[in-house]
């Protein structure tokens, strides 16, 4: 009797353990429940004793490499300098229009402000190549050909030392992998996992231009961006799509949406950085 009881108890405990394991998410190379990204305010439904994996280690897609912007949209406002007063498509308020109408590229050039149109809210829209690399395991880096700018996307908490410094053209960017689902639920849904996208929030940006012709953004601008790598397409193309949302209480009536696409290049042989130009 004691032996039967013992075997039944062991069997029941083992089955219970098996059921518990079955409820945990399917592990994959793209997933790290205890990742720093998840711990930055997004981790839910995490189990296990694995050491934290870096954002670089759990990157759901390969964002690195050389990419070239393909200008099939807003050509008139990107490939040439728009005319003064041409702020078509931008939800500028009256203050923004007044400010745009004072644009003087010569003044900017003389004042050493030629990079105003190359700041974070505008730089992905400036035609050119970009080079995406990992600066370290926690920092994704984008170098731009146009204006020779560098953007640093830091995963996890914002750098405290940066917050005390003066605003810069590229601001402070905090990055996180987008997660799919919230987990939990009535029957214990699967834990959230990276959905493939990258979210970047940028603040403390030095005031500049949304467009080359002086369409302004202010000091309190909040920039939210979503990066997705797409493909390969049937012809082998890979695309990087950046959805950009600019919120500026000073010069915009509403959120300003643009989405910009880049095609993957095989190498950096055509890389040719250029300086900022005010006009």
């Amino acid at each position: 009797m004691r032996r039967r009881t013992l075997s039944c108890t062991v069997g029941a405990l083992a089955l219970a353990c098996g059921w518990f394991l079955a409820q945990s998410p399917v592990p994959s190379a793209n997933q790290a429940p205890s990742s720093p990204a998840a711990s930055a305010g997004q981790g839910r439904g995490q189990r296990g004793q694995q050491p934290p994996q870096s954002p670089r280690a759990i990157a759901p897609r390969d964002f690195t490499g050389y990419w070239v912007s393909v200008v099939t949209e807003d050509w008139r406002w990107r490939m040439v300098t728009p005319a003064k007063g041409d702020y078509d498509s931008v939800p500028l308020n009256a203050a923004g229009r007044r400010q745009a109408d004072t644009w003087d590229p010569q003044r900017d050039e003389t004042a050493g402000e030629a990079c105003r149109a190359y700041a974070a809210p505008a730089i992905m829209r400036v035609p050119g190549r970009i080079h995406v690399t990992w600066d370290d395991d926690m920092t994704l880096r984008i170098d731009t050909e146009a204006g020779t700018q560098t953007r640093l996307f830091r995963f996890g908490a914002r750098r405290t030392e940066a917050s005390a410094s003066a605003p810069t053209w590229q601001g402070d960017s905090v990055a996180a992998w987008e997660l799919s689902g919230r987990g939990g639920g009535m029957f214990g849904g699967a834990a959230p996992k990276p959905s493939g996208g990258l979210k970047v929030v940028t603040t403390r940006i030095r005031p500049g231009y949304l467009r080359k012709n002086g369409v302004p953004f202010g000091a309190d601008t909040l920039l939210t961006e979503y990066f997705n790598v797409l493909g390969p397409e049937d012809n082998g193309d890979r695309w990087l799509v950046v959805t950009t949302i600019v919120q500026d209480p000073q010069f915009l009536n509403t959120r300003f949406f643009t989405s910009t696409h880049f095609k993957k290049l095989s190498d950096g042989s055509t890389w040719h950085p250029t300086a900022c130009r005010a006009s």
Binding site: V68, M79, V241, T270
Partner: protein
Amino acid sequence: MHPTRTRVLVALAAALTIPLVARTPSPSAFQERASPAADRGRGQSQSLVEYDDAVQRASPTGVDFTGEWAPRFHEDEPERVPGPELGDYLGIPINDAARVRAMTWEASIQTLPEWQCRPHSADYIWRGPSPLRIWKDVDPVSRQVTAWHAEWLRSVDRSIYMDGRPHPSPNAPHTWAGFSTGTWDGDVLTIKTTHLKEGYVRRNGLPRSDQATLTEHWMLHGDVLTVAAITTDPVYLTEPFIRTTDYELDLHQWVPPYPCQVVEEVDRKPGIVPHSLPGSYDASSDFANRCGLPVEATRGGAETMYPDFRDKIGFITSKCIAAQR
């Protein structure tokens, strides 16, 4: 081996096997549904007995795009709302055949009875001036999404099938919506569309042939929908033509009815189709001249899409402003 020890080992083996089986990812909780055609051939019916909840929760079901979506015209607003200017082919990878056809196009063709109710095709409509509604078909038993539907103001219902059905024969009819099937890549919905009727890539006569195919990627970021639409056309394009467009969720928006009626807009003799003969229409340079842009650039072509084209045309300040439209 002692009977008790045997029973313990069997119990442990079973316990370790269950999670391994349950944790195996699969595209469908209904294993038999992976091949609907095969099911029909065998005369089998779907049954809840085949359903595996653990598999269902691990399956790549993507994200829900259902909702009312408001277009945001923060890109190319003058082209998308009032309409493009004649001769503006900037940044589009057209070939000479497309250029010739576009330069024989007359806007008054839209007044022909046959053209008045013509909807925008699946590839262009994302860029059109219209609210968008997206909804889904759900299988009542499996509760899986079997199709997505997208509808705009002046368009047919676009169906995107998610049940793995094949595209029809090349000889099947072509429609404004085409035939679309979707698959998930993470939370990105990738859609392949074939069987499109002839349409246009810009509303100023730039043609798109009925041999074109369309690949779309739908991406949801909070309350923002971004769609990358990539058109490949062996007849009129030299490279795939990509556009990315943004919509914002607006639960107070409704797509109004659009019961288009054909009327006689222009009194003209039967059989007359507005057009210009090749080489006889020079208004296509008006846009370039007015905006201070090189005519060569406004003629379009793949070269004009890439940043290096600026080295060719130099640093130019446009003369176009909205007030001049």
